[in-house]
């Protein structure tokens, strides 16, 4: 594998590290299997691309994408909490709806960003040699997000959120308004997914309505694979493992696709991912639900 291909895998790995942190929050912390991220990832990309084309500052456009993702999460949470729709079904409904929304937002299935100013062009003048600039930039972004994320999970609100997922009756008895924390958790999770989509669109130079397909599985692969690879069981360790798992996953997939002897093409990514998730699940002994570990 060439250096450029390797760095490319690291870049995508870091971007999906953000998605993995979001997926960790819903699947692992809140115990809310949320598939909305497939839609909110592309939603983030769509909002960013359209705003950049309209001449918005790329940073502001990225911020708007995050806000849009948060709103998508709030819709899913509201369907679940107010209309009592089963959590998994609520997230699928939002995800499906977002597919149409994304095409409306972009006015078509794709918006190219070639030659446009992106968050990456704004750091080009810093003098870092070309192949390194993107991986270093995404490393910095993911590191900052991770620090804020880890702080949040250890804050009073973060603790209440963790209790909401693990033991809602006990949380309520201790004055935690569990509904609000489910809303908060889903907003943050989908905000992170949209952030990932926004960055990927700016890196690849296009937003596409299909780019969100399989996001949830890639996120899960990172969360479960990371936890299987990193032995630390502390919360800080587990969240770092999400990002690490995402990078390892993308390097692995890149290797598999680049190895000509395997004869795999880009369209084989999904089955490679599905197999990886199954293998990681089998070895981590967590079973199919990807919910909390159930002791025998």
């Amino acid at each position: 594998m060439s250096l450029v291909a390797f760095l490319g895998a690291i870049e995508t790995g870091l971007i999906f590290g953000l998605v993995a942190l979001g997926v960790f929050l819903t699947f692992r912390v809140l115990n809310f299997p949320d598939l909305t991220v497939d839609g909110s990832f592309a939603f983030g990309a769509a909002v960013t691309a359209v705003l950049i084309i309209k001449g918005w500052n790329p940073w502001v456009a990225t911020g708007m994408a995050i806000a849009a993702g948060c709103c998508a999460g709030l819709v899913t949470a509201t369907l679940n909490l107010r209309l009592r729709v089963l959590n998994l079904l609520a997230s699928i409904l939002t995800m499906i709806a977002l597919y149409s929304v994304n095409i409306r937002v972009m006015g078509g299935p794709t918006v190219p960003l070639l030659g446009q100013k992106t968050v990456l062009t704004s750091v080009e003048h810093l003098g870092v040699p070309n192949p390194w600039i993107a991986p270093l930039f995404f490393f910095a972004v993911t590191a900052v997000v991770w620090v804020i994320y880890a702080w949040f999970l250890h804050s009073e609100t973060g603790l209440a959120l963790r209790a909401t997922g693990a033991n809602p009756v006990m949380a309520r008895a201790n004055g935690v308004r569990t509904d609000r924390l489910v809303l908060t958790g889903l907003a943050i999770s989908n905000g992170l997914a949209a952030f990932g989509g926004s960055l990927l669109a700016q890196l690849q130079g296009a937003a596409d309505v299909t780019m969100g397909i399989g996001t949830i599985i890639i996120g899960l692969a990172a969360v479960i694979g990371g936890a299987a690879l990193v032995p630390v069981r502390s919360l800080v360790g587990l969240t770092l493992a999400c990002v690490f798992g995402s990078i390892v996953y993308h390097v692995f997939v890149s290797l598999a696709l680049n190895a000509t002897t395997l004869g795999l093409t880009a369209s084989d990514v999904n089955i490679v991912t599905a197999v990886l998730v199954c293998v990681a699940l089998a070895f981590s002994g967590k079973g199919a639900g990807a919910g909390r570990a159930k002791q025998p």
Binding site: L159, A166, M170
Partner: protein, 264 residues
């Protein structure tokens, strides 16, 4: 002071399964009183606790805590007034969180939660000192997930969590029923000590007539959603389980149907 004023609770209202669990029940608990509640299965003991905690809506009647009408408030909104220890040690603590995180969660009961760190040196010191007084060696296990503790240790920690912040009433829902007799004795003694030291108002549901008479200042017996016996003061002092059963029979004209009440 706690006032439950003509409260009725009906499950499955308007269906063939309709079940009146509490029937225009009224009690007044003055501040500082420790009330024990007994009754057979389905008598409405846990329902009464859930009504005071705000986990169950009432069909009619009012609940007042410290002169505030809380009937319409959900459980989290009452948490500044009401603290609870559950029957199942796993229900009252959060096993994926550490001992100190569980305590931190309880220490913010009834207060808005912000983005500041949930744990700091001051809080850890406070928790360590509180755990030391349990005499279980838990002060050295602040960072352990609480799931690693035994049932008795978790129940003792639950009691500490419930009493760590001031409240108007402490609700104990058969909180020693899931423990072995020796551990149950320890947790009961701890309960008595905490309630006495902090002069708490408490309502303890129990399956054991013996416990009901051994602890507290007043004993209620519930039967079919009504209070059928309410003893306190001189009358209660020196009362035995046999006296209690005799009183029930005399007042109610029927035999107690629950073996568990007699055997406990």
């Amino acid at each position: 002071m706690i006032r439950v004023d003509g409260v009725s609770v009906v499950f499955n209202a308007g269906t063939a399964m309709e079940n009146r669990v509490l029937s225009e029940l009224s009690i007044e608990i003055p501040s500082g009183q420790f009330v024990t509640v007994i009754g057979s299965n389905g008598a409405g003991k846990s329902t009464l606790l859930n009504v005071i905690a705000g986990e169950l809506p009432v069909a009619s009647g009012r609940v007042l805590i410290a002169d505030e009408d809380v009937t319409a408030l959900p459980a989290p909104a009452r948490s500044a007034l009401v603290a609870r220890v559950f029957q199942d040690p796993r229900a009252g603590t959060c096993e994926t969180l550490t001992v100190e995180e569980n305590l931190a969660l309880a220490a913010s009961r009834g207060r808005p939660r912000g983005l500041g760190l949930a744990l700091n040196a001051g809080r850890r010191q406070r928790f360590r000192a509180a755990l030391e007084r349990l005499g279980l060696g838990l002060e050295d296990r602040l960072g352990d997930p609480i799931g690693l503790l035994s049932g008795g240790q978790r129940q003792a920690t639950s009691l500490l969590m419930a009493s760590i912040e001031p409240m108007q009433i402490l609700l104990l829902d058969e909180h020693v029923a899931a423990l072995d007799p020796r551990t149950a004795g320890f947790v009961l003694e701890l309960t008595r000590r905490v309630i006495e030291e902090q002069k708490l108002t408490a309502l303890m549901v129990t399956h054991s007539m013996r416990h009901a008479l051994a602890l507290g200042d007043r004993t209620l017996m519930l039967h079919e959603g009504r209070i059928v016996l309410d003893v306190t003061g001189e009358e209660r002092r020196g009362m035995t389980v046999a006296d209690l059963i005799a009183r029930f029979r005399a007042q109610h004209g029927e035999e107690l149907d629950s073996d568990s009440l007699l055997l406990a």
